[in-house]
Amino acid sequence: MSTVVHPSDVRVDAVRKIVGAEEYAGDVSLEGMVHACIVRSSERHARIEAVDTSAALTIDGVLRVVTAGDLDCALYGRIVRDIPVLAVDKVRYLGEPVAAVVATTRRLAELGAAAVVVEYGPLPAVVTADAALEPDAPLVHEAPWEYARAVVSPDDPPNLQSRAARGTRQEAEAALAGAAHVVDETYVTPAGHQGYLEPQCCVARWNAEAGSLELWIPNKTPYRLVEQLAACLGRPAASIELHPVAIGGDFGGKGSPMAGPLCAELSRLVGRPVRLALRYAEDLAATNPRHPTSIRVRMGCDTGGRLVGLVVDAQVDGGAYAGYKPMPEVSLRGIGHAASSYRVDAAYVESRIAYTNTVPKGHARAPGSPQITFAVESALDELALRSGLSPWEIRRRNVLRTGETGHEGVRYAEHRAAEVLERAERSIRPATAPAGTRHGLGIALYDRPTGLGYTSLRLTARADGDLDVGVAVPDTGTGSHTVVREVLAGALALDPACLHVRHLPTGALPGDQGVGGSRVTATLSSAALLAAERWQARGGEDSIVVELRGEAEEPITSYCAQVAQVAVDPTTGELTLLDLLTVVDVGTVVHPASHQSQVDGGATMGIGFALYEDLELDDGQVWASNLGEFKLPSVRDLPSLQTEVLEGGKGVGPANVKSIGELVNPPVAAAIANAVFAATGVRLRRVPLRAEDLWEALYPATAAAPGRPAVPAAAAAGPAPGGSSEQP
């Protein structure tokens, strides 16, 4: 079956979003609804000695102050169930919910929360992964292996959340020992918020008589959230219903239960519908940001620049709880994909995620990949320099070719790395650096597999002859509901305007796996094609439901190469990104405008990770506590963004699609860091890449002293673009 593409079709949600009519959780207002605000810990690690609610309860309009003792629920989590709805006996991070105030208005709830007095007995805290994994470190959890579905045992180091390893260490070490050139460096990335603009929010309505619970919550895995809530609240899943609301940005941050369990409990306790909306400052300080990492990369090649050995040791700060990670092994899969674009004789990759007294970490667009790609693609340039090859040449000599298998042991249907690199090299438009600055160009490469998931779909004939299309999965903004319409319109030879796509409440359809892993387009388009087939073959029914449990026939991966051009002011270290070229490897593009928007948005998020975004978690407190301090790129911060689409790839399923949502953001930081090196000879191994760090590396002697130094010869001359000189 072929797919007809309607490139000019307007997104299904466009008009209602443009005129302000789209409904988000914060827009839901129910009869009798009251408001809640959370009292948060002011300590990193402390015993809760007393909670004095008396002052809060004197405020007119405050209905109830709730602490852990009032709750009737278990710990929650996506895999490991280790998160208390409100802290029990002790707090484990600054910002942890300790109590909640319910009042008739949000303002009164906030006043009430400010009036609650909590007495703490401070405990020693660990705020970095390195410190937490020391043998005699203070314990964040006394017995973490006792939590439901924990992946650690009493024999593990005390604060371990999870450990994942691939390969054999001895073999990889032996290969490194025999290498002609070796790089051994450590790369550091910070905690970063997903930056969705809609703060976390939930509206809950508990109906005591019916024994039912309804929620309006921006969550991208609704059917899984129902299971998580059922386990936490001790209620049958069938009694819980999630109503569809739009999601104001996700990027991984809207997959956890977040405000849901507490809001549900509050509604039960006050017997009224409750809205619990976070302020953005709370969201930055205390939701589920990207994991900070410290990644040691040892990589070696032979005299011909062929990669012979790779050892990666990643130390990852998981924060106070493991429960926001959804993978069964509780790891960040991206880290395991280290150097997955290349042939390596012997590789060993290990990551250790630690419990610390910091905000619990969760998934953020391509979990683990921006961190590992910054490390490995920077290290590869460092190795190129040592072996006398250009950054392009070392990649060309090592990329996987179709038919080959990388160290992950997966045999993909094709590898288009060489074509992607070639297209990148051919498409560079040299950018002009302003007078007095130095120009540099850097390349980075990344690949990401695409899979199929589980979803269900309903087609119903309408009286007017049109079709209602009910989907089980929310559109987080990517355009997935528009993809369903495009594919169905093509397969049924219908005008897209006759198809009305709607997200249905949980319970209306058999189920769905949720948004994630860049598999939504593949899964939904396959489900839509299956639905079209069944629709055409149906008997008399005017409604059908299909379920797709996807198994791709062959593993598929997609490549992305990025070329950054920068200008560096050698006097100040100021860094300007002039141009970012993105080359993506695609199968069939179902909705070109949405696809391009994923590329532009991904590149922009990668720029934010590379240059701006840092929650500044250094001592366990989130210091970048508002969107002025935690800076997301604005339209003015962007360079010219160019995209090259390499058509003709082999995609997943009959719709032949590849992933895009998490393909473009991971390589940006390494491309820029490599360009900075080409411009200045300075290798920055920490993101965000800052003018201060660059200046200190350019002027090591004067960095400690105030005053404006003269330009040293090394910076003024600089190496040739492509990075052919050693560091100063």
Partner: protein, 163 residues
């Protein structure tokens, strides 16, 4: 308090010190959104007496007797504004969109490019003295995490060109 909301007289109960955003949302205009809550993201943008403001910071008392427009009112009889964003697919999650559309309206209708209130060359205007009133400069107060801005910029340019 008393003001005009999307061309209609509005009499609402409001504290003079509460944010205008809460007041317009209570009055039924939930298009403007609360994002950052500190005047950075632009999701809450509304037009007060012809100028775009961050309604999360703008006190209700300052809008007494003012002429306030939200995305609902601005798009109601302006199909060109809606089409410009729809045709360019200038949105994903849509949370920033009401603010983007509101600022886009101002970009096209701004009183005076060269120095009138809010003009790009007015003191503190978007482009700064002698600055270039290009779309990026005028729209820099509206963050979008999803789209990478390219499509939004195209939409605003299309809409402005039609005026």
């Amino acid at each position: 308090m008393h003001f005009r909301l999307n061309g209609q007289t509005a009499d609402v109960d409001a504290e003079p010190t509460e944010p205008l955003l809460d007041v317009v949302r209570r009055a039924g205009c939930t298009g403007p959104k609360e994002g950052c809550w500190i005047g950075v993201c632009g999701a809450c943008t509304v037009i007060v007496d012809g100028l775009p403001v961050s309604a999360c910071l703008y006190l209700a008392g300052m809008a007494e007797d003012a002429d306030v427009w939200t995305v609902e009112g601005l798009t109601a009889d302006d199909p060109a504004l809606v089409d410009a964003f729809a045709d360019a697919a200038a949105l994903q999650c849509g949370f920033c969109t009401p603010g983007q559309v509101t600022t886009a309206w101002w970009v096209a209708h701004r009183p005076d490019v060269d120095g009138g209130p809010g003009g790009a060359r007015s003191p503190g205007g978007a482009g700064g003295p002698g600055g270039d009133p290009d779309v990026a400069a005028l729209m820099a107060g509206n963050l979008c995490r999803c789209t990478g801005y390219q499509a939004i910029r195209a939409a605003v340019e299309t809409y402005r060109a039609g005026h």
